[in-house]
């Protein structure tokens, strides 16, 4: 199998340990790498988390034995011990939070809450801090929902902005892992606001945070219904695009895919093509190359070839190649969409520079048979997406000449002038009246 277009290695360093699991699962499923390697990678990954039981399971399946290395056992004991300790430390606050009556006493005013907790429940900064540690530990253990809850509450009480930020990151990761895409999206947006507004100690940190944010957001955008629009909104902002160009050009793949798949053509698309052109030397994969073929070199045969590579790349990408089970066969919805749109891209550009095209050539270019191609084009013409006629005798499509009439152009030019002048005059009069009235 080809792992040529696999980005896991480049993406993984920008993710949380726990977020890498889904990627590894996917790779395992695709069978791109030997199973053993992936299992080893997983253990490696788990070593620094508290999910010791899981690590043990993997170890067993990897070496097909019941023995578990001693250090894992030790680590387990240690983890359990620490869990206990943390639980105890955070206990007062947790019990408070679990009491619905007590929670109702909390108000929007943070100072008030803190004072109240301190006075009535003897819960001070140490306990709140303990809550954070406890939540973090829960997350490390893989108890994401618990962690998410605690972090949410911690944020309400937390006064330290630095801590609050990392709590937010933790919350986001937990939500992503629980696949609560809507909530995760909210968290993502609030995190983005903080990153954009906060004055970071160094610009370097800010860029790094942006890159993390973008990587994490991939999970959300390719699972959320509206993600494909949102990803363009996020990634195509200047600041984020800069970050991509500087440190993570591989993200261009996702942005490019989003642009292709997105139905609405956007004005930013042209700008984006330029970015791709610029970054050709630092990053390229079939998808960006496809765009370059269609919009930079006008090499339609090349684009055609690239489409096939794109398909492969999409299938092997953990984000793009998400499968949907439908009855007894799985489809990759994004692939189908991508191919459809890519075809349209080629066709559009192709038509723009041709006067007459043979139907059979077109069919071949579009990967369709003659009948299908004809139907497709008739549809386009009917929905007035294309101004053309089919000459069925010779089997060609004839484009209508599309030159705007000179007179039309002139009229366009001057049409607005009268409107502007009227507006001008009325403004002048409006302005003049109060003066004369005085």
């Amino acid at each position: 199998m080809t792992s040529k277009y696999d980005l896991t290695q480049r993406i993984a360093p920008q993710l949380d340990r726990h977020l890498v699991f889904p990627l590894l699962e996917f790779l395992q499923e695709r069978g791109m790498y030997p199973e053993e390697d992936i299992l080893k990678a997983k253990i490696e990954l788990l070593n620094n988390t508290n999910m010791v039981d899981y690590a043990m399971d993997i170890h067993k399946s990897l070496y097909r034995s019941e023995d578990v290395p001693q250090e894992m056992v030790e680590r387990r004991a240690e983890v359990v011990g620490r869990l206990k300790a943390l639980e105890e430390a955070a206990a007062p606050l947790v019990t408070f939070l679990q009491n619905p009556n007590a929670v109702q006493e909390l108000r929007a005013d943070q100072q008030h809450n803190l004072r109240m907790l301190n006075d009535r429940y003897q819960i001070g900064q140490e306990q709140i801090e303990a809550l954070y540690q406890y939540a973090k530990f829960q997350f490390e253990c893989g108890n994401y929902s618990g962690a998410a809850d605690y972090l949410y509450q911690y944020r309400a009480l937390c006064t330290n902005t630095e801590r609050s930020l990392s709590a937010l990151w933790g919350k986001l990761a937990a939500e992503i892992l629980m696949q609560n895409w809507d909530i995760a999206l909210d968290e993502l947006n609030s995190l983005k606001e903080i990153i954009d507004s906060k004055s970071f100690s160094s610009p370097m940190n800010q860029v790094q945070s942006r890159i993390w944010l973008m990587h994490w957001s991939l999970f959300i955008f390719f699972n959320h219904d509206n993600g494909r629009t949102l990803i363009i909104d996020l990634f195509n902002q200047d600041k984020y695009l800069n970050a991509i160009q500087t440190n993570a050009p591989h993200l261009l793949r996702y942005l490019a895919t989003a642009f292709i798949v997105n139905k609405r053509r956007r004005p930013q698309f042209k700008e984006f093509i330029k970015v791709i052109q610029q970054e050709q030397c630092s990053y390229k994969d079939p998808i960006t190359e496809f765009l370059a073929c269609v919009y930079v070199n006008y090499d339609f045969d090349g684009a055609h070839k690239k489409m096939k590579e794109c398909e492969e790349a999409i299938l092997n990408d953990p984000f793009l190649g998400k499968r949907v089970e439908e009855g007894n066969f799985a489809t990759v919805p994004l692939r189908d969409e991508f191919l459809e749109n890519a075809r349209l891209f080629i066709f559009e550009t192709y038509c723009r520079i041709h006067q007459r095209i043979e139907m059979s050539v077109l069919a071949e270019k579009l990967n369709l048979n003659y009948e299908e191609a004809e139907r497709w084009i008739v549809n386009l013409i009917r929905t007035s997406k294309l101004e053309a006629k089919i000459d069925s005798k010779t089997g060609t499509i004839v484009m209508e000449p599309n030159h705007t009439n000179v007179y039309e152009q002139l009229i366009d030019h001057t049409k607005s002038l009268s409107g502007r002048t009227y507006k001008l005059v009325s403004q002048l009069l409006e302005h003049a009246q109060p003066q004369t009235a005085r």
């Binding site: 559009e348 520079i353 007459r356 929905t383 607005s416």
Partner: protein, 926 residues
């Protein structure tokens, strides 16, 4: 003839005098010590004169007369002294000298009369008194002061002759009192006068003597090493320090202070100073003291060459480097010694011995020394004629400096002075950045070979040292004397540059960045190099930097342009280079020679400054190659552009420089075969405009600058492809109106291109709306649409445009009256309009016209048309050209133009947000 003879005579005279002077001095020294011998001499003399007295009674009266005259003059002098009148005193002095001659002739003796000697003594005392009294001296009239000064000199000169007698007189005035009459005179008048003449030349001869001494010292040193040069004082010192057991820290320290105090004073030979200090380093008692003295040695060595434009003698330079290495040795050996230039250390800091535990502070600044060494090296390369062997020899010293720099850097890093280390790293970078891999390899090899030679040198040095007194503080060579170079120049650059980015200050970082850009460009990594330039925003800030950095910037831009050309990016290359050529002062901008400006003369001061910042020859960028690349790029862009705008050639000019040259060459009645680069490109242009790509390429290929390129064949191949492409485009632009359709095959064959290439090129033209045509797929033809505007239509468009501008002006006028916010409804349009106004103002206004009409058309008629591609295509056309402008704007921004004041319109990038400024400089490479 006579005059020459005279001067010669004078010269020899003065020389004799000098030698006389020396002898006298010595004899004086001897006589002061042996006073008894002198008195004996006196008594003998006295009896002699007694004898003569007896013999010459006959002429007594004449003699008396003469003596009377003389004593009268002495009285006059006394009077003059009382009123402090130096003018009359001078006259009397001259008179007494003449009288002296007469008296001596009369008495026929070889000894001046006592009266005369007494007068001299008196005069001298008074002179000293007058000189000592500064205030009185100030009050004197100018003529009086002048007389005093000339008296001072004359007297000094004159008194030398009678030095011994004067001394006797001072010691035993009574002796002279008695024998006033009995004195005889030793010399005749002519001699005396001769001497008087010589006085004027005196200062000059004194100086020449000094320089002679220096030269001699220099010769000696270059010839036979150290021990031969022990001059008088050295000998004295040798004597002083003969016995090693007697030398204490104190004696060395005292002598050291003494020598340092003499520094800079008149009459102290600079080389001599260096030698004395060098000697002292050998007898220094503690490492710290040795260090202190070594620092002084180095400073003294820097002083050897006093002028700003000249350079330090090469052998001194080498010694200086060696001394610095020894310093490093000591510093490495005794890690408790700290070199610092911030605090003044204690007087006796250096007394602490090698076994002292605490930190010892020594005043000194290694970085400054190193930078100075570098400057001297650079200067020597500037001065030496690059076509001589000397230059090559000098270049071979580079590894030596690199070793030193490397060691200093390592030391500073060890000590934790990263700021200094980054400065030193920059020096290393500046020696490496312009070297392509081949040159770098050669340098590495040289450095390795050098090691063999150096070892033998060390041996001889060891021998020498053993001859002199053994050094008290032996310094083993701890620091490596051989540079270690990484395999690849890029690796070296990366290491150094990342250190600088981390710790350097603004200027250091900027320079390192430019060197980095330059080096990447040499290695054909255009995109990296371009990204560095854009990210660092250097082109915005460079005009605020010092001139040498601006030159470096220009060099980097030139190299970037060459690099872009090599990888086939013609547009980029052109935008890099066009600015350099816009003012026709490439040489000046690159500091590769002084260009004569026709319009304004430079002051000598300016010229000197300019000469001082010239690049040494081996760092030059070949100007012919640069010009060829620039003109070829301009040709490739300009020829199709001219063809496209055939009816209105002045409308859109890409390269003014190229247009001007073309005009000049077209104006010629006869065109001969091309001679220089310019002619070649012009000939190629003529061919290209005809669509004759083969001839065009052949002419360009015949340029002999191509041999300077490493991958010449690839570049020429690329060039050929480009020329073909542009020829095709030119052809289509020029002749499309004559065709209804052209077949693809025909075109491909005509321009020797593959079908796919032709198709791609033509498609691009179609999409960019440069060519009004479309493909007919079944037949493989290009069908041209007839969309040329008629004259009337074109005029109508002009009219509408003017109307738009008018409306726009009205709006703005109203806005100004009513105030802002009044035109809420029209913000977008207004923005458009301003563009047009701007375009119109910049002449013609046609440039924007097409873009405008298309986008307008799109807006107006989008109802019926939906196939997104079409609309986007239109915009795309505009977008591309805009991008081009933006790019060039970014590149060209601004540049050093000989001094401050001239700031080029800095075009801000269209995609200004490309990199957010603050972030970039920092996160580049860390």
């Amino acid at each position: 003839m006579a005059s020459r003879f005279w001067t010669q005579g004078g010269d020899s005279d003065t020389e004799e005098e000098e030698s006389d002077y020396d002898e006298q001095e010595e004899t004086v020294a001897v006589e002061t010590t042996t006073a008894t011998a002198a008195s004996r001499y006196y008594s003998g003399n006295a009896s002699d004169s007694d004898d003569s007295d007896g013999q010459k009674r006959v002429v007594r009266r004449v003699k008396d007369k003469r003596f009377d005259e003389m004593s009268a003059t002495v009285d006059q002098m006394k009077n003059a002294m009382k009123i402090n009148d130096w003018v009359s005193l001078q006259e009397s002095f001259e008179k007494i000298n003449k009288q002296l001659g007469k008296v001596m002739r009369v008495t026929e003796s070889d000894k001046p009369p006592n009266l005369y000697i007494k007068a001299l003594v008196m005069l001298e005392d008074f002179l000293n008194q007058a000189l000592a009294n500064k205030e009185a001296k100030k009050k004197m009239s100018s003529s009086n002061a002048k007389a005093l000064n000339s008296m001072k000199q004359k007297l000094k000169k004159n008194n030398k002759l009678y030095e011994d007698l004067i001394n006797q007189c001072r010691e035993k005035p009574e002796l002279f009192e008695e024998k006033v009459e009995d004195e005889q005179e030793p010399e005749d008048e002519d001699d005396e006068e001769d001497e008087d003449d010589d006085f004027d030349e005196d200062p000059a001869t004194l100086e020449s003597e000094e320089s002679e001494e220096e030269e001699e010292a220099g010769k000696d040193e270059s010839g036979l090493g150290w021990e031969k040069m022990l001059s008088k004082k050295d000998k004295m010192m040798d004597k002083q320090f003969k016995d090693p057991s007697q030398i204490t820290w104190d004696t060395v320290n005292k002598k050291f202070k003494e020598i340092v105090a003499a520094r800079g004073k008149k009459g102290t030979g600079r080389m001599e100073l260096v030698e004395q200090l060098t000697f002292l380093t050998r007898v220094a008692k503690t490492p710290a003291q040795k260090l202190e003295i070594l620092f002084s040695v180095i400073s003294a060595q820097f002083d050897v060459n006093p002028s700003l434009s000249g350079h330090m003698p090469i052998n001194v330079w080498k010694q200086c480097v060696q001394n610095l290495l020894v310093i490093l040795d000591i510093l490495t050996q005794y890690s408790n010694i700290v070199v610092d230039d911030m605090v003044e250390p204690d007087e006796n800091e250096t007394q602490k011995g090698a076994d002292f535990d605490g930190t010892i502070r020594i005043w000194g600044n290694l970085v400054a020394f190193l930078e100075r060494v570098d400057v001297e090296y650079f200067k020597s390369l500037q001065v030496i004629d690059p076509h001589t062997r000397e230059y090559v020899e000098r270049l071979k010293d580079e590894p030596m400096f690199l070793v030193l720099a490397q060691n200093v850097q390592e030391y500073l890093e060890r000590v934790g002075d990263y700021k200094g280390a980054s400065k030193v790293a920059l020096k290393r970078v500046e020696l490496v950045y312009y070297k392509p891999q081949e040159v770098y390899d050669a340098m590495r090899k040289l450095a390795e070979q050098d090691n063999g030679g150096e070892e033998s040198g060390d041996e001889t040095k060891a021998v020498e040292e053993s001859r002199g007194p053994p050094a008290f503080v032996a310094t083993p060579e701890l620091v490596p004397r051989k540079p270690t170079f990484p395999e690849n120049s890029r690796t070296l650059m990366d290491i150094l540059v990342s250190l600088i980015y981390k710790y350097g200050d603004e200027r250091t970082k900027a320079r390192a960045m430019l060197c980095d850009i330059y080096h990447h460009a040499i290695l054909d990594e255009f995109s990296t190099s371009r990204d560095l330039l854009l990210m660092s925003h250097l082109q915005d800030s460079v005009q605020h930097m010092d001139i040498s950095t601006q030159i470096l910037f220009n060099r980097a831009m030139a190299q970037l342009g060459l690099c872009a050309f090599r990888v086939g990016l013609v547009t980029e290359s052109h935008s890099c280079l066009s600015e350099l050529y816009s003012a026709g002062r490439v040489k000046e901008l690159l500091a590769q020679g002084v260009s004569q400006s026709r319009y304004h003369e430079k002051t000598p001061e300016q010229e000197r400054l300019e000469r001082r910042r010239q690049m040494p020859y081996h760092m030059h960028i070949n100007l012919e190659l640069l010009e060829a690349v620039h003109l070829i790029c301009a040709m490739l862009l300009e020829v199709p552009n001219m063809a496209a705008n055939g009816h209105d050639a002045k409308r859109k000019v890409i390269s003014k420089n190229f247009r001007r040259l073309l005009e000049v060459s077209e104006r010629q009645t006869f065109t001969g075969p091309p001679e220089n680069v310019r002619d070649h490109v012009m000939a190629a242009t003529r061919a290209l405009r005809q669509g004759d790509f083969e001839k065009s390429f052949a002419v360009i290929k015949s340029l002999d600058v191509w041999r300077l390129l490493r991958n010449k064949d690839n570049v020429l191949e690329m060039l050929k492809a480009k020329i073909k492409e542009e020829a095709l485009r030119t052809y289509l632009f020029t002749y499309s109106s004559s065709y209804d359709s052209i077949s693809l095959d025909h075109l491909s064959k005509m321009f020797d291109l593959s079908d796919a290439q032709t198709r791609s090129i033509v498609s691009k033209m179609m999409i960019n709306e440069e060519l009004h045509a479309s493909w007919d797929q079944p037949t493989g033809c290009i069908v041209f649409h007839d969309v040329e505007h008629t004259r009337l239509q074109a005029l109508a468009f002009h009219l509408t445009e003017k109307l738009t501008i008018l409306a726009e002006t009205n709006e703005r006028a109203i806005e100004a009256r009513i105030g802002g916010g009044g035109l809420d409804g029209l913000p977008l349009r207004r923005k458009d309009g301003q563009d047009y106004a701007g375009a119109a103002a910049s002449g013609g206004g046609g440039g924007r016209w097409q873009e405008f009409s298309f986008s307008q058309g799109r807006q107006g008629s989008s109802g019926g048309r939906t196939g997104g591609g079409r609309g986007s295509g239109f915009l795309g056309g505009g977008g591309f050209s805009r991008d081009r402008q933006a790019r060039s704007g970014r590149y060209q921004s601004s540049r050093h133009q000989d001094g401050p004041g001239r700031v080029y319109g800095a075009g801000s990038a269209a995609r200004g947000g490309q990199m957010d400024g603050s972030t970039r400089m920092v996160n580049l490479r860390s």
